[in-house]
Symmetry: C2
Subunit: 345 residues, 2 copies
DNA sequence: CTGTTAGCGCTTTCAA
DNA sequence: TTGAAAGCGCTAACAG
């Protein structure tokens, strides 16, 4: 059990393979094999090794394993923020699958900054993850080239593009917004307004904005565009109320408001309830995300449901399959979205 | 630039320190130093090295660095779930601080299972993180002994205990629930009920339950206990509505309901609004967590505000200070809680 | 200010 | 079925 003298001191004493091997009376090699491929080791040897592992409390050093094998069993995930609960769901979906597959998750957030994203990708790649998952499909060219050069599987998520880096699990935010506009047009609303917070760098929200404009151009040709867009307000319901009042003041004629998130739509809806503004009679409201509260409000909030958790889970599955060299049915998976029509429209 | 012949093939070609050194015409050691302590290298040398790093697109292999230096610059964080947005906030707070300090975050979730927590701690320790952050103060003895043996800083969070493993950043869930009961008693409510979902393994919720019972014993001596506790329902508003109806049916006399989470309280409150049950006149409602919607509802939800993000940030700071061998003012930080009284009581 | 040497703990390769 | 040797890419220690 004595560790050989060394110039290098480790702060906390940790058991090594060699020590387990010594205790079990076999070579380090055999212990390594026993742990990874128990079938290839004789029964009695395995038993001795298992006992030695138990007795010493050995925990394999995966860093050393990674260095030697060039596989890390980790996935790096880079998200804009955890404050958006739909993104947290995606992380949860990814983590769920990775855990069962024996992978560990490195998580970092960018606050929607492409510069931070670049730095984060760079430092994450320093860990030599086996794969990377990104939210979004728009990145700095340097970021993309870094990822390509890494030569590992990459999944982009939460939007759609024809120019993906590698794999893709998402849906068209643009089409989602167009579907909302089409729905409102179908219900006879004529004067739509768009209300959003779009951080510079939130390209998904940008796409939804673009989709709104396209929808309006399609259904209300030549009509004026009504919109209030904040660039830097928090993702909170009270901001939704602010957006609502801004729209009402600037476009009193508006008969429907398309919000970029359920958080804002929910805030606006609660504001209406508090102020006895009848929804949808006086004004219709739509959201995005189908948050938990959307279906509980009275009136219920018409919104777009997105399979957030599934995006994470499917991304993880694609990464794992690729890493296992299993064939993929597709490298670009459109998980779609659902327009959920409730009473607010 | 030619890499020496090797028996070992790496799947994806990556630049190494030695190659940068060759290109810059210095030793590997000097490159290593230049990257970590630029001041200790001559200006012209530094310039050549910087150019070589740039030209080769070198990304340091932190795994190798970790193995050699015995420091990983990673923190492992183990949470029950990301589905609770207050916990997501804590993760965000941790990640925020760690990023600026140059640490990376390993994240894993346990779904409130102590067994999964043990397995997760075990596999996380395999990465040899520099520190560990856990949610909660109750863990399996094996988990605790594993963490102690690792000899690295550990922070427990989100609750309070006198028997911490190492450091602690939290507050008393029990006192929080007692404060809610005291508030209700002070407002003249006489027949309190407790409504919760408590997963086996959610010891914080358990503490809030205990606090409720203590509060009732204190303020309503000898009175009967009213409670409905589900053991395995999702954290969603519709479950809050179910809890509400269960309470009403079993305890029609109840004049106030203490929910274990704003999610349920919010669901119940919205249900009341939909069913025209007057809150707080017919029944008072309290929550826990001070979610975004709590203040937006009408009536506003009386609840307990918890500095969730701060818990993460302070935990990260404690870990980093400890790792930097800086003195700590305290190893057990009580971040407290605030009773936020709104119109629902 | 810079270089040499040894070694971190593991896996790969090859041989027995 | 098991073991010996080499090396993954980096940093610590020491010397110059």
């Amino acid at each position: 059990m004595d560790r050989p003298a060394s110039r290098r001191k480790s702060l906390s004493y940790t058991v090594t393979l060699a020590e387990v091997a010594a205790q079990a009376g076999v070579s380090a090699q055999t212990v390594s094999r026993a742990l990874r491929f128990p079938d290839t080791v004789a029964g009695h040897t395995l038993a001795r090794i298992t006992a030695a592992v138990e007795a010493t409390g050995y925990v394999p050093n995966l860093s050393a394993s990674q260095l030697a094998s060039n596989r890390s069993k980790t996935i790096a995930m880079i998200i804009p923020t955890l404050a958006a609960s739909v993104i947290a769901e995606t992380v949860q979906g990814m983590s769920d699958v990775l855990l069962t597959e024996g992978y560990q998750l490195f998580l970092g957030h960018t606050d929607y900054s492409p510069e931070k994203e670049y730095e984060l990708v760079r430092s994450m790649l320093g860990r030599r993850p086996d794969g990377v998952c990104l939210i979004g499909t728009v990145h700095r060219p340097e970021t993309i080239s870094l990822l390509r050069k890494a030569g590992i599987p990459v999944v982009q998520t939460w939007d759609w593009t024809e120019e993906r880096i590698d794999m893709l699990v998402g849906f068209s935010n643009r089409d989602a917004a167009r579907a909302v506009v089409a729905h409102l047009a179908g219900r006879g609303y004529k004067k739509l307004a768009f209300a959003a917070v779009i951080f510079p760098g939130d390209y998904r929200a940008e796409q939804r904005h673009a989709g709104f404009l396209e929808g309006v151009a399609e259904h209300f040709k030549g009509k004026k565009v009504r919109e209030v867009i904040y660039r830097d307000r928090p993702l909170s319901m009270s901001v939704g109320a602010e957006l609502f009042h801004d729209i009402r003041q600037r476009y009193p004629e508006a008969d429907a408001i398309v919000f970029s998130s359920d958080v804002f739509a929910g805030g606006a809806l609660l504001e209406c309830i508090g102020a006895s503004i009848r929804v949808p009679d006086e004004i219709a409201i739509t959201g995005f995300g189908d948050y938990d509260f959307a279906g509980q409000l009275h009136p219920g909030l018409t919104t777009v449901h997105v399979p957030a958790r599934d995006i994470g889970a499917q991304s993880a599955r694609l990464l794992v399959r690729r890493l296992n060299k299993q064939p993929l049915e597709t490298e670009a998976l459109d998980v779609g979205f659902d327009l959920v029509v409730r009473e607010s429209t």
